[in-house]
Symmetry: D3
């Protein structure tokens, strides 16, 4: 039943998401002993202007 929400910067390709979903699911099944069918992964594409670290937006020069 593990459900993943993964927030990352927009711009990753569908191929990267495809590889990531497959590999993360495989890893999770091995470590937790669950079936692949029970693993859901939801990606959230985040714009740099919507993410701040140390009080500064990632769309701003660092």
């Amino acid at each position: 039943m593990p459900t993943f929400h993964i927030e990352m910067f927009e711009g990753r390709s569908v191929e990267q998401k495809r590889q990531l979903a497959a590999a993360l699911t495989d890893t999770t099944c091995k470590v937790l002993g669950v079936e692949p069918q029970s693993v859901d992964i939801i990606f959230h594409d985040v714009k740099p202007e919507n993410w701040a670290t140390a009080g500064k937006l990632w769309s701003d020069p660092r």
Copy 2:
């Protein structure tokens, strides 16, 4: 005070969201005994390429 976050595939119409919000709120008020004003519902439209089950993106053929 119940706050809902509902992730579902993009493509649902505003009319479906309108009906769903009304009905979910009504149900919640009846079961929990809360006032409608206290119920917030936030929908998140998810692209099929951003959701994977069993390690496979829903934008890929199954």
Copy 3:
């Protein structure tokens, strides 16, 4: 595939969650035309000291 996250104050009984889960799923299937098996609902019990509205914790007198 709809996945619900519902944050509400702690203290609801298992029976209330049971009724709420059943009714919300039923409503969702009718409005969206999806199968019950595709609906996941996750409840998050929140302590009043962990929820603030208008800048005031709900564990404090209002």
Copy 4:
């Protein structure tokens, strides 16, 4: 390590997000005694048709 997720209606300017991120981080560091580098803030822009209060979408007349 505090990580903020802030859901708000779409339409806020980058300048408002910039000011908000800076001020919220500053406040958090003062109250919790953490370093700015440890504070992450992620904004989620929500369309009015995706948010309902009291069973009514905010894109509908109230």
Copy 5:
């Protein structure tokens, strides 16, 4: 309508949460021009064993 979810390590006092909620709400109202009543803040206390950075749990020696 801004709704905050703040994940931070468990162990903060109610007084720290009280101060943080008040100050964050005040800041948000000033920057966004919204009413205090529209701001909700939900804190999530996270155990060090439930948070990892760089692949290492915070309950483990770094």
Copy 6:
């Protein structure tokens, strides 16, 4: 910057979380080309009475 939220049933050991965090981070770095330091993973332990699929709580007999 990827930030993971992983909801799963309570009961996993710290050792399982340790292995999972390490392996998921490693996988993410390889596929996305990011540094380990940029990957945060937060686990949420969910009680069976707080998770429903197909309208039925997982604490109930299926």
